[in-house]
Amino acid sequence: MAVADEVAKRAVVTKQNTNGASASLHQAGTNGQSASNDGQIERQRLRLMLLIRRFEERTYQEYSTPRIFADGSKEVKIGGFLHLYSGQEAIAAGTAALFDKSRDYLITGYRCHGASLALGMSPHVAMAELFGRATGCSKGKGGSMHLFDAKVGNLGGHGIVGGQLPLALGTAFAQSYKKTGGVTFCFMGDGAINQGTFNEALNLASLYKAPVIYIVENNGVAMGTQVERHSAEKDLAKRACGYDMPCRNVDGNEIDTVIAEFGKAVDRARAGEGPSYLVANTYRFRGHSTSDPLKYRSKEEAERARQRDPIGLYEARLRDKGLLSDEQLEAITSSVNEEVEEGIRQAEADPNPPLEARFDDALAEKYPYSPK
């Protein structure tokens, strides 16, 4: 029931926010908080991207390298499926700069760690979920594809590719019905646009003028199939041309561009003018999942992509503008590392969910019979 309570609470907050004071707040929000002179906001954005990267790389380690204990026993803390976000950070972090936690929603596919951290989930809670601990955001019973946070409108990870697209239309419908001024960000991979839900959701969204922003995180490949092999139209922005909504390509590795371009879509949605479709072009540094042999990409391609690492690009920009010194970067990096390590330490110490808990949450009711 806790989740429903959270949602109810949020609905109340949302109502208050629609009146008066919050209006100006939200206007400031639409352009992303405007850049401050001393660069504090920019450094926060950089920190967020670094946090996501660090979290993902540590997650990868915990998945692939067993811990060896004093008695010689080994344990791998994370198993199952794992889809990492490294390389795509500017999209989640840029969205976070526009996101109003009191009334917006974000929904995504299974590659959901980055978006969740960007919306403020602590590394501890996220890692606890990956470790299968009771303190995880899905009580340790979901794992990597199951990061959700009802308090902030994080509708989280969805395992059926393309399954989240109509859901986003529904939450956007609710936002316009309740006149909250909220918008729904819907992330999907480039592969997802080939599902039938894409056509249904985009057409309906435009018909209903729903405040939803469809964002394709185009990392160039769906599992082992490159865009050139999965989409008849190679310019993915054009795939949404028939729905009477803005459709644009965006440099998904440049967080400032992401904020500016997504910001226009947010303005349009909040003004009641309807949905937008944006293709954020980016790159995924790691494999599709941790078992991907990466046969489909060359060393040269990966090397080129490293030159356009969203974190490197932003670091360089901030340095150019005099907003980032060596000392500042070092301080940010070490605080990020410490935050992630502390989260891991806590998650390790946390309890596993009790065995009986596996029967909870299928329905609101208690499990109907005593399991044999």
Binding site: G80, H146, G159, N194, Q195, M223, T225, R229, R358, Y369
Partner: protein, 324 residues
């Protein structure tokens, strides 16, 4: 004779039948260049070309729909769906189109296709990648549902499916893919669809299982005292079910336990159990027992063991039934 695992046996059957029958075309996500998520179609695109082993984008509805059309036009399509959960987006095509093709057109058109789908848990995969929806499709008139438990059967059953005049869902238990190797003859042989196998003969109780649960049952039998004589039936085909083999066994033993991974409620065990009470009522010494998964989606892999029926739970179910 080569020793093959389930993956190898299915790959061999596909290759041999593609050699024999030019109408066979494979379709699916990453089945060509990558050889499929479980590498079941490895090497087939190289050998038979891109026209016969077709890499498809993420479009399950399109994959199944294309296959139906191919079949109606006289081809023998073999679509692969990567995991059972992804049958969801293709459900309309499968259930509302494929399954009814013959009856809708009163036989003017038919749909001879074999849909290959990995099924079940036990490989540390999350929900949608660990489910056991065989009963859903067995409940759909017009579909056949097959699930081998071992490599030898997989080859023989798959050849039958590929030659069947109607749509067959060929469920491949993921847990068995690499877990067990056995001799699989090179030469052609078929195992009829609709025929169960008595894996071990016994007189005290009939255990009925399919897919990955068959080896759990074998382990359970090992753990039971020797004087307990268990007859184990591997259903092999879920629909049409081999009523005769089940009934003959239970008439002899008087007791039955059905085992499946799928949730309990409306699982295929309910059908088996109902059939036994209809046909064996006067011979029954105890109510038919079920050892099953729970009525919840699959949990995170750390709790997987606590969800899937295992030898311990099967032993307990057998003891309950014997003690009744």
């Amino acid at each position: 004779m080569p020793k093959l695992d389930l993956v190898g046996a299915i790959n061999l059957a596909l290759a041999q039948e593609m050699e024999r029958d030019e109408r066979i075309v494979l379709l699916g996500e990453d089945i060509g260049l990558n050889g499929g998520v479980f590498r079941v179609t490895d090497g087939l695109q190289k050998r038979f070309g891109c026209e016969r082993v077709v890499d498809s984008p993420l479009s399950e509805s399109g994959i199944i729909g294309t296959s139906i059309g191919l079949a109606m036009a006289g081809m023998r399509p073999v679509p692969e769906i990567q995991f059972e959960g992804f049958l969801g987006p293709a459900y309309d095509q499968l259930v509302n189109q494929a399954a009814r093709c013959r009856s809708r057109t009163r036989g003017a058109f038919t749909c001879p296709m074999t849909v290959r789908v990995p099924i079940g848990g036990g490989i540390h995969a999350p929900e949608l990648h660990s489910d056991s929806p065989e009963a859903v499709y067995a409940h759909t008139p017009g579909l056949k549902v097959v699930m081998p438990s071992r490599p030898y059967d997989a080859k023989g059953l798959l050849l039958s499916a590929l030659r069947d005049p109607d749509p067959v869902i060929f469920f491949e238990p993921k847990r068995v893919y690499r877990s067990l190797k056995e001799e699989v003859p090179e030469e052609e042989y078929t195992i009829p669809i609709g025929k169960a196998q008595v894996v071990s003969e016994g007189t005290d109780l009939t255990l009925i299982a399919w897919g990955a649960m068959v080896s759990e049952c074998l382990e359970a039998i090992d753990r039971l005292p020797e004087e307990v004589s268990i007859e184990l039936i591997d259903l092999r085909t879920i629909y049409p079910m081999d009523v005769e083999t089940i009934v003959n066994s239970v008439l002899k033993t008087g007791r039955a336990v059905v085992v499946h991974e799928a949730p309990r409620t409306s699982g295929f065990g309910a059908e088996v159990s109902s059939l036994i009470q209809e046909d064996c009522f006067l011979s029954l010494e105890a109510p038919v027992q079920r050892v099953t998964g729970f009525d919840t989606p699959m949990p995170y892999y750390k709790l997987e063991k606590a969800y899937l029926p295992d030898a311990d739970r099967i032993v307990a179910g057998v003891r309950d039934c014997l003690a009744y």
